[in-house]
């Protein structure tokens, strides 16, 4: 476990090297809050509620969900793996005593930890300085469920993208799989069509998929909504994580033996 912690630390340190990038991250985090404030102020003019949420709850939801969305950068894993397998540099992970899956998840964790820290700091300062009322649940259990769900969601996305990366061992082109993943994720989280417009059986079915629990549900939980779905969400996400942990291990061990292209 310590080795994976050290891998995460190394990638976190690597992120801290570029001061300009760090500054841009802070500015973006602040700009996002400012933008949300302006946008929702206009939309709420003359209205008490939109989609069941008041102005402050909406701002809180928007900021939390965009913060979580910003943390989810795991698509980089599949892109990086594909590139490395194609140009023959992936073997550097094969010859060291670590599980490649663990290595990539730890790498992602290190990068996320950096973004999470910067984003949290900027958001907290902004809320504090401008006295923006932040709507959140007071239920400790729900807060805990939401936090665990965020971790599991990010882990799931890292595992899914690792799986898509491994597919390079079998397929020449994996961009079609990446596109399917992105579209499915956008559809399930309501980014393509508002979920309210879909038939009930379809939205109920989508709750068995993990994407709903990656950013949407934790954001709702943090502002005190959909609390009855918290446990279901944790169970569904845990099952998906377990499935992909095993699937990745089996697929990697099976496909790497047949793959001759791993360079040296």
């Amino acid at each position: 476990m310590k080795k994976y912690l050290e891998i995460a630390k190394a990638y976190m340190k690597a992120q801290l090297i570029w001061r300009s990038d760090t500054l841009v991250d802070v500015i973006l985090a602040v700009a996002k809050i400012l933008f949300a404030w302006i946008l929702w102020s206009i939309l709420f003019e003359g209205k008490e509620q939109i989609a069941g949420l008041g102005f402050q709850a909406m701002i809180s939801y928007y900021i939390i969900s965009s913060y979580l969305f910003q943390l989810e950068k795991s698509a980089e894993i599949s892109r990086q793996m594909t590139g490395m397998l194609r140009n023959g540099t992936f073997s550097k992970y094969m010859v060291i005593p670590v599980q490649t899956q663990g290595y990539f998840v730890a790498m992602e964790a290190g990068k996320i930890a950096f973004s999470a820290g910067i984003g949290f700091l900027a958001t907290f300062l902004w809320f504090y300085l401008f006295r923006i009322p932040f709507v959140h649940t007071a239920n400790i259990k729900i807060l805990l469920c939401g936090s665990i769900m965020v971790v599991l969601g990010l882990l799931f996305m890292a595992l899914l993208n690792y799986f898509l990366g491994i597919l390079t061992l079998k397929f020449e082109e994996i961009s079609i799989f990446l596109m399917i993943k992105d579209n499915l994720s956008a559809f399930v989280t309501g980014a393509v069509i508002p979920l309210a417009l879909l038939p009930e059986w379809m939205t109920a079915g989508m709750k068995f998929l993990p994407f709903y629990y990656v950013t949407y549900l934790p954001s709702m939980l943090f502002i005190g909504k959909c609390e009855e779905e918290a446990v279901t969400g944790l169970i569904v996400l845990s099952v998906w994580c377990m499935v992909f942990l095993v699937l990745n291990q089996v697929t990697y061990e099976h496909d790497r033996i047949k793959y001759d292209g791993a360079g040296i």
Binding site: K2, K3, L5, E6, I7, K9, A10, K13, A14, I17, W18, T89, S91, K92, M94, V95, I96, P97, V98, I257, Y259, D260, A262, I264
Partner: protein, 323 residues
């Protein structure tokens, strides 16, 4: 004790043979023709613990495929292979703990971080105890004299400095076997020499078995007592490096400076490479070198004479062609 052993090791690749043009590409969607390429063919190799072995051969000879199989990166098609008692392609943790690979053109270092950071990471990856880590690090840092570079961002290091760091990272966990692929590629003469001295020291003082793949014959001649020549996937020579070069060193280059301008006789078995008023450069058959030398010393006023071994590239070319 044998640390690397292969018997009838074979690796075949299946290659898609595409027909020419767009029509060929479309046809290839429905009906594909494959050809089999034998990269390593019935290869037997035995390496003893502590040996420094050179693996040489022209591009496409099968050297890299062989090293990939020995390190477990790819699986053999048939034959027997064992490295330190393991079947490499299983990539067991205990196996990976005991070897290291250094590739001249690829890196294990974090370019954004310092070498010290990478070493810390590798300490954890290999589970090296703190005291052993410090001892090893100090030993290698001292050997390479790179104390002042340890806390410098890797990105800013020169190629030679980076290669030294790669070697330190690779050797930190005291591997039993070190696989080296072109470690001196692109390095200047001074850095190349430093790397060679370092490797020689590591092999002698630590007993690390080293398998070196290089196109630089200087590396092979200086470091490896034993050489294995590979061509078309087959082993065509396995024995002493001195013997290999001795056998294929067909001629010598003799440069003679005369006291004044002369018109020297040149025997038929010598080839004139350069001729000036007071200078003559000849390529002479190795076995006649003494006789030719004597004939000039006895007949002409000589200011200086130089005799050089045949240029290494020509020797290697002959080895690849004739063995």
């Amino acid at each position: 004790m044998k640390i690397i052993e292969t018997e009838n090791l074979t690796k075949k690749y299946k290659r898609y043979k595409k027909q020419e043009g767009l029509a060929g590409s479309i046809k290839g969607l429905f009906h594909r023709k494959y050809e089999e390429k034998i990269a390593v063919d019935d290869f037997d190799i035995h390496v003893n613990e502590g040996e420094f072995v050179g693996l040489i051969g022209p591009n496409g000879a099968g050297k890299t495929t062989l090293v990939k199989m020995l390190t477990g990166i790819i699986a053999p098609t048939s034959g027997r292979i064992q490295v330190m008692g393991f079947y490499p392609n299983k990539l067991e943790k205990a196996f990976k703990q005991q070897y290291a690979v250094v590739m001249g053109q690829k890196s294990q270092l974090f370019f954004e971080l310092t070498t010290e950071d990478t070493l810390r990471l590798f300490k954890e990856i290999y589970g090296i105890p703190e005291d052993e880590y410090k001892r090893n690090k100090d030993f290698f840092v001292d050997l390479f004299q790179v104390q002042e570079l340890m806390n410098v961002q890797v990105r800013t290091l020169s190629l030679g400095e980076r290669m030294k760091m790669e070697l330190i990272v690779a050797l930190l966990h005291n591997p039993k076997i070190l696989f080296l692929d072109e470690p001196t590629i692109g390095l200047d003469a001074v850095a190349g020499k430093q790397i060679r001295t370092f490797l020689k020291d590591v092999n002698e003082s630590r007993g690390t078995t080293i398998l070196l793949t290089s196109h630089y014959m200087e590396d092979i001649k200086v470091l490896c007592k034993r050489s294995i020549v590979v061509n078309h996937g087959r082993k065509i020579y396995d024995g002493g490096t001195d013997m290999l070069f001795e056998n294929y060193q067909k001629s010598k280059k003799m440069t003679i400076y005369f006291e004044h301008s002369v018109e020297p006789d040149v025997s038929d078995d010598c080839r004139v490479l350069e001729k000036a008023n007071d200078k003559l450069v000849l390529e002479i058959p190795k076995q006649n070198a003494e006789k030719v030398l004597e004939s000039y010393i006895g007949h002409y006023p000589i200011r200086d004479i130089g005799i050089e071994e045949q240029e290494i590239g020509s020797v290697v070319e002959r080895i690849y062609k004739e063995v």
